[in-house]
């Protein structure tokens, strides 16, 4: 039971990170119907930006809680802004010119972009893993029995709280603001939205920006939680987040979050109770199984094929 509880906590933390990345996939898929293969690498870039910002601000080793919170907020803002710029640039360079092209073209450029980002970071930051000392330490002991301690660390609390808060804020943006309205309009019918005066290109760009900003939060959280990053983390995290988006029903925002949580839990429990080596196989198999038997996901709408 204690073991189970601990895994549950770990799984929810990991799931929050996947959920934040998955939103980027699901929004982009919803609006232009393509898989933004480079999104995982945007997440990786954000983790690096976060790392550089943390070292630049010199908060490693600081003990004052107030300073740490302030500095981390600053890091988060820096990472979000710079990562958004990356997201915008990728869309502008690789996807916008191909908007009217055949369907596979943007997917191929997305793979190209993913290779570019990975190798760019590898060249500029080096191929070796970057370890970061834990910045947020401490936590609560929830239970103790037979020497097994169930821990809830501060960083886990922060990750889940930030994720839930961002999700709420984000849902409100989509539901209430003009941007959200334009976004939903484009999702339903891009041509019609353009006819009634929605700036489609701008809306799509903003979708990428918002997606990248959320991925940046995930990247910084990942960095703080695991403390180790390298240029390759984006690939696996990206595929898993995509799996989460598909599982939750692609195009659906609550679905992305739900899918993220499920994937995080499945992966954690699989590693805990079966084998660590095959945890990726478990996640990938779920992707295949969901697509085959439940193509519209848990919360998604069935797709109507238009001729």
């Amino acid at each position: 039971m204690e073991y189970f509880l601990q895994q549950l906590i770990n799984g929810l933390t990991l799931g929050s990170i996947y959920g934040l990345i998955a939103i980027g996939y699901t929004m982009v898929y919803g609006i232009i119907g393509m898989i933004n293969f480079a999104h995982g690498d945007i997440f990786m870039v954000s983790a690096f930006i976060g790392l550089i910002a943390i070292i630049l601000l010199g908060i490693v080793g600081t003990t004052s809680v107030f300073v740490i919170i302030l500095a981390l907020l600053l890091v988060l803002v820096i990472a979000m802004v710079l990562t958004s710029a990356w997201g915008w640039t990728v869309e502008r360079m690789a996807y916008r010119p191909l908007r009217t092209s055949f369907r596979l073209a943007p997917l191929i450029t997305a793979i190209g972009m993913s290779i570019v980002l990975q190798n760019f970071v590898q060249i500029t930051q080096g191929a070796r893993v970057k370890p970061l000392q834990p910045i947020i330490s401490g936590g609560y002991v929830l239970m103790e029995k037979d020497g097994f301690v169930v821990n809830l660390s501060n960083i886990q609390i922060i990750i889940v709280v930030v994720t839930v808060a961002l999700m709420a804020a984000f849902s409100l943006i989509i539901a209430l603001t003009p941007l959200g309205r334009a976004q939903r309009a484009c999702e339903q019918d891009r041509k019609m939205a353009a006819l009634v005066g929605v700036n489609v290109d701008r809306t799509i760009s903003l979708t990428f920006v918002v997606g990248a900003a959320l991925a940046a939060v995930a990247g910084v959280m990942y960095l703080l939680y695991y403390g180790v990053i390298d240029f390759y983390i984006g690939f696996v995290a990206g595929v898993k987040a995509f799996t989460a988006a598909v599982l939750g029903g692609i195009g659906s925002l609550p679905g992305a979050m739900l899918g993220g949580m499920l994937i995080g839990l499945i992966e954690t429990f699989w590693s805990a109770y079966f084998t660590v080596e095959y945890k990726d196989v478990a996640a990938f198999s779920i992707l295949a199984i969901v697509l085959i038997f439940l193509p519209s996901g848990l919360l998604g709408r069935p797709e109507v094929e238009k001729v």
Binding site: V45, M93, I111
Partner: protein, 455 residues
């Protein structure tokens, strides 16, 4: 529109646009180029490289400005014109007719030329030629799936791996066991490659069907991700199933191929002895070259023939418009499955050739990058074009070899090329293949516009 605009205004606009681009570049690069994290003794340190950042931003500024002024020449210099269909170079359409036979002759003559004129370099050139031929074969195999049937397969390397491991396991474990148990004579070891080759192909095709059967209902991009997932699953299994595949250590001492039963060994009964030649290790290399050349040509021949059969026509129709295909009563799933299986089979052949050439295989040879590389060869060569694959493979693998010292940068350039060529000419750089049959004359609208929104 560009001509009517005053030159001065165009220049200022270009300059403004370039400044904006430079500012964005500054934002993008400030963290990643300007500052580098270094591993110090007491944790991570930072290394500032402002001059590099300045150089990168200046490059973006200059590049954007020059492109604006000299290439795009529009009043609002955006990528609009850049994305438009470029005029086709008329000579390229006839490329296959002329260049095909020339290249074929060159390929057959290569060992002779290399033997006579490149004394010291001979071995190196032949090794490179074998590598290029392997990728040509893989490219042709994947071309059936991606180029003809329009199914984006990101896990093609899985079938390559299946072929390689099939041969390796058959020849190092299964055949010796058969000999030991008395089910086969010891002579089978000399024929190991020739017996395994068709088996490897069949196994790969079988895997293609197993993987393809459930997923081929999916639409283009879903299919791509699922094939990618399958490719990774197969790699992870190969990596972790230690007892069977040797895990990360791989399988070694895989038997070399024989000249139809005659081994390439020194002394009595060897190839050199049998034909009365002096022994040379090059004999095997040259044999391997011709072997992969023949295998690749078989792939090509089969593809060309299939393209004229109803199934090939169905593939091309499927690529152009799936819904129309279904309306016409084509069984789309079986059509896709055939393409998938046949593509996989050729991947399997290439895989077992790879295993016998290397003598050692490990999961490291079958990573996603390999799939991406093969896909890039097909895409850059022009989806569906046979001669395009050849040129793309020669340029790409040759380029990789030339820039071997710049190992890190070549992947970056490779990715950038993939993006820019796709943006510039989505149907392929070198040539493009239109469907083999049309109803009456071509429509005025290109296929890429007809197929708007679907692959």
């Amino acid at each position: 529109m560009a001509a009517s605009q005053p030159a001065a205004e165009r220049l200022t606009d270009s300059l403004k646009d370039a400044v904006v681009a430079a500012v964005i570049a500054l934002a993008l690069f400030s963290g990643l180029i300007g500052i580098r994290t270094t591993a110090d003794v007491g944790g991570l340190g930072l290394n500032f490289r402002w001059e590099l950042l300045a150089a990168a931003v200046a490059t973006v500024f200059a590049g954007r400005f020059l492109l604006n002024v000299f290439v795009w020449r529009t009043d609002k210099p955006v990528t609009r014109l850049f994305s438009g269909p470029m005029p086709k170079i008329p000579g390229l359409d006839k490329l296959g007719v002329i260049a095909g036979p020339i290249m074929l002759i060159a390929a057959f003559m290569l060992p002779v030329i290399s033997w006579n004129f490149f004394g010291q370099q001979n071995r190196y050139i032949m090794d490179l030629a074998i590598l290029v031929m392997t990728y040509i074969m893989l490219g042709w195999g994947l071309n059936i799936v991606v180029g003809l049937a329009g199914l984006l397969d990101l896990g093609y390397v899985a079938f390559y791996a299946v072929g390689a491991y099939s041969y390796a396991l058959l020849s190092t474990k299964f055949f010796p066991l058969m000999v030991e148990l008395g089910y086969a004579g010891p002579g089978i070891m000399d024929w190991a490659f020739w017996v395994s080759l068709p088996l490897a192909g069949i196994l790969a095709a079988f895997w293609g069907i197993i993987l393809g059967f459930p997923v081929l209902r999916l639409r283009g991009d879903y299919l791509a991700i699922v094939t990618l997932a399958f490719g990774e699953i197969i790699r992870i299994v190969l990596l972790n199933w230690y007892e069977f595949t040797g895990g990360p250590d791989g399988l070694s001492r895989i038997p070399r191929p024989s000249f139809f039963g005659i081994p390439f060994s020194r002394g009595e009964g060897g190839f050199a002895d049998f034909f009365g030649l002096g022994y040379s290790p090059m004999h095997r290399i040259i044999f391997l070259f011709y072997l992969i050349l023949i295998l690749a040509l078989i792939t090509n021949f089969v593809t060309m023939r299939l393209r004229r059969l109803p199934i090939g026509r169905a593939w091309e129709a499927l690529r152009e418009d799936e819904i129309a295909c279904r309306a016409l009563g084509i069984n789309t799933r079986n059509t896709k499955l055939t393409a998938f299986a046949i593509g996989a089979m050729f991947g399997g052949f290439a895989g077992s050739f790879f295993a016998t050439r290397q003598g050692f295989i490990s999961p490291e040879s079958f990573v996603f990058m390999e799939s991406a590389l093969i896909l890039a060869i097909v895409v850059l060569g022009g989806l569906g074009s046979q001669i395009g694959v050849v040129i793309a493979a020669v340029v790409m693998i040759g380029g990789f070899e030339i820039f071997r010292d710049l190992a890190e940068y070549r992947m970056l350039v490779f990715g950038l090329l993939m993006v820019s060529i796709m943006v510039w000419r989505p149907r392929g750089l070198i040539s493009s293949r239109n469907p083999s049959v049309y109803l009456k004359e071509r429509k005025a609208v290109g296929a890429e516009h007809v197929a708007e929104g679907r692959g």
